[in-house]
Subunit: 455 residues, 2 copies
């Protein structure tokens, strides 16, 4: 592997060019208008896999976006890695906050700015290029399978079915995913825990039409007022969730594990400064890293109702809406939580309004073992490129399908991500550092090498 650094150095321009072809495709999975872009992006991935050296690369149609599958089988006796990634991205709104066009990759300050630059086009792309290097230089000692889906940001509904139907094809010793962050640019980490997710939408209806707020205000219930009261009551003054039985299945984390977690470098002042808030605001009795790592949360992801244009309009609106997500922790079931929320939310609605609760997608939390061979191989790989051992961390984010892999394919996942919090994934001006892109390719190549030598 002596030529690895040199290989990356000489191929940088080509890597960027290839990645940009993916980034320019507006593959927003939650918007029906982008359906043709989903197919286009899947096709581009198929080409990339062939170009990288896969013997097989194909699209599998589903009821939603197609799944890209590719493979390079070295030997039936070699260990097998299944690389999982996704080519779909989050919506780009609010558009006015982007400094560069969201789907025109732009390099500034040694970063690629574009929706998907990190999540997950940039990160999944590193695997294609690490694989290409290993194969070209005749150093690949493991089989590689790629499964790149197009519905991760909307719950991977069809990938569950695809996995059920293709257990044999997807058979592997480990699933490797680069779709998470590391602690800091010089502090590599491996994500060993992910929160799950329950996402719902609520609609409150007051009067059957918008009313004049003067003629009716004070006598007729205002659905925005009521919606605010209802969602406000979902958390209490200790920032605990008030839904009955919500915490029933939450496993308490041992003192020992909490003490270990507390050892990860965390500077609250720096953390607050980076997002410009004077105070954090989490559940009483837990640290910020515990809030996102081991505790559930309740967030309004969107709210709207009434007049939101320029100037003023005195109106008592007919309807108000909110989109909300609950991050859940290991042992909580997303469907059960959705039902608990629905039952509770309907029960607290006053009779002066009508309530509609619509569950969107959900996913289980996941905890990854740190004693499996893949974890050890990853530790060695990071040691090669960063000169230090990665820290095992728990992320607050969710990749719902990871728990599904465990259940359906009976295969554990290894989460080696190279993002940073500053990459602003899901936000305007998402970006990915060029040095992380190249160091990621380097680390992944080392990982393939060490994993090929295990088993």
């Amino acid at each position: 592997m002596t030529d690895l650094k040199n290989y990356i150095e000489t191929h940088k321009e080509l890597f960027i060019e290839d990645l940009f072809t993916l980034l320019r495709i507006q593959s927003v999975s939650s918007k029906s208008e982008n359906k043709p872009d989903m197919l286009k992006c899947a096709e581009r991935w198929k080409e990339l896999l062939f170009e990288a050296g896969c013997d097989l690369a194909e699209l599998h149609t589903t009821n939603g976006a197609p799944v890209v599958y590719g493979e390079k089988i070295i030997s039936n006796n070699a260990p097998t890695i299944l690389v999982y990634g996704h080519y779909d991205v989050m919506p780009v709104e609010p558009l006015e906050l982007w400094k560069t066009p969201p789907f025109e990759p732009t390099i500034m300050d040694e970063r690629i700015y574009c929706r998907g630059a990190n999540d997950d086009k940039g990160q999944a792309f590193m695997h294609a290029k690490a694989f290409e290097y290993m194969l070209k230089t005749n150093q690949l000692k493991c089989n590689l399978k790629f499964m790149i889906e197009g519905e991760e940001e909307v719950g991977s509904k069809n990938l569950y079915l695809f996995c059920e139907a293709n257990k044999e094809k997807l058979n592997a010793d480990v699933i490797v995913v680069s779709d998470t962050s590391m602690i800091a640019t010089d502090t590599p980490s491996i994500t060993v825990g992910l929160r799950g997710l329950t996402y719902l939408e609520v609609e409150i209806t007051g009067p059957n039409r918008d009313l004049h707020s003067g003629l009716f205000g004070g006598a007729v219930a205002n659905p925005i007022n009521i919606l605010c009261k209802m969602v406000a009551s979902i958390t209490d003054e200790k920032n605990r969730i008030t839904i009955p039985n919500f915490y029933d299945d939450v496993l308490s984390v041992s003192k020992e594990e909490r003490a270990l977690m507390a050892k990860a470098p965390f500077d609250e002042k720096e953390y607050r400064k980076a997002i410009d808030v004077d105070e954090l605001c989490g559940e009483e009795g837990f640290t910020p890293m515990e809030h996102v790592g081991i505790r559930p949360s309740f967030d309004l992801c969107g709210i709207w109702g009434g007049y939101t244009g320029e100037g003023t309009k005195t109106v008592l609106p007919s309807k108000a809406f909110a989109k909300l997500s609950m991050r859940i922790v290991p042992n909580q079931d997303p469907d059960k939580i959705a039902q608990l929320f629905k039952k509770h939310f309907e029960s607290i609605a006053p009779k002066c309004v009508k309530v509609k609760v619509t569950p969107h997608h959900g996913g289980n939390a996941y905890v990854s073992p740190i004693d499996m061979p893949a974890y050890k191989a990853a530790e060695e790989a990071f040691q090669e490129t960063y000169g230090k051992k990665p820290i095992p961390t728990r992320s607050g984010g969710s990749i719902p399908i990871i728990a599904g892999f465990d259940k359906i394919l009976n295969t554990k996942s290894l989460l080696i991500g190279f993002g940073l919090e500053a990459d602003a994934i899901h936000s305007p001006n998402e970006s990915y550092r060029l040095d992380h892109l190249f160091k990621g390719i380097e680390t992944i190549a080392w990982f393939y090498k060490y994993f090929g030598e295990k088993k």
Copy 2:
């Protein structure tokens, strides 16, 4: 006046044609893009006043929309009526709820559907035509002045200045306004009380950019969650407003007056049915008619933040916003209330967010005397056309400038409106009944006659 009914009957088509020329102009005062339409609408009003017989009709430029002024002076000894109306209209959003194009007047079921059909193009228009009839038939025994402004829906800021600067020109015995509703189509009423208004906008800022709700949710304050908690706390479980000192200046209404109010016909079941709500929801200890007539209210007119598009987006947004109005009652000061709100709202904000409160327009409440000559003349006029005496009522709506007239011009206002609650003013599908349009012209002509004979 024997030919009045016949005159209206034979001129119906012409009246509708003239009114439609006003309705087609998109004079939305709160939107800067509609500025050219404001001038166009003012010009059209000037023409209408000349056509009706004014000796003078002119536009007065202001820092905002122009004021249309017209007059017909019969004699310096005759009593003088100043007709006040407005040519601006409310925004038309949400557009998708309109059954007909909002600025293309359409007659269906004996109603004119259009933004402004009632409020206030249709209602102010009746005065021009009643005046035209009186003048043409040589029966006008009072002087008439017209002042039609273009900023009523945004607080009439420039009309206050116009009044200050034109006291002599606007000198009159009474100001007459048709911009309110009557109790029912066969139950005429005169509005003797109007609530005032304080309108504000609030902005809550959490982190300096949208964050991933998984990576940060639970540790970092979500501005939508916080906004909901803050506005939810503005009213208590008795639907009373919790802002300290808010009720200090509210005059309590006597048992006698409340008993009188209770005599107005009101069928709660019908009221609820018309707007399809199972329960009303007002301040404890008061009736629905009291809620809108004599008590203040707090309404969220608009709320927005985060992702509001199709499907899902897991985001912890940077900002959340709300527009809110408080209807106030006689003796409450809109600016004082705005300051009380601002102080309180800022004081309840947790340190994890930043709060910005921006007052928009406001206006005082108004109570109209029922012993003035104009009120008596109006009673007689309604008796002529409806065969019954009008009931004095208090409306929950606000016409902020009315209190200003009292203060600046030292002139009382008479509020004779011909709208119905079903006209859906400020809402999609605003409409005005054709029979109310014509009966309104008839009643106003009688009013001019009787008022000309008073003094």
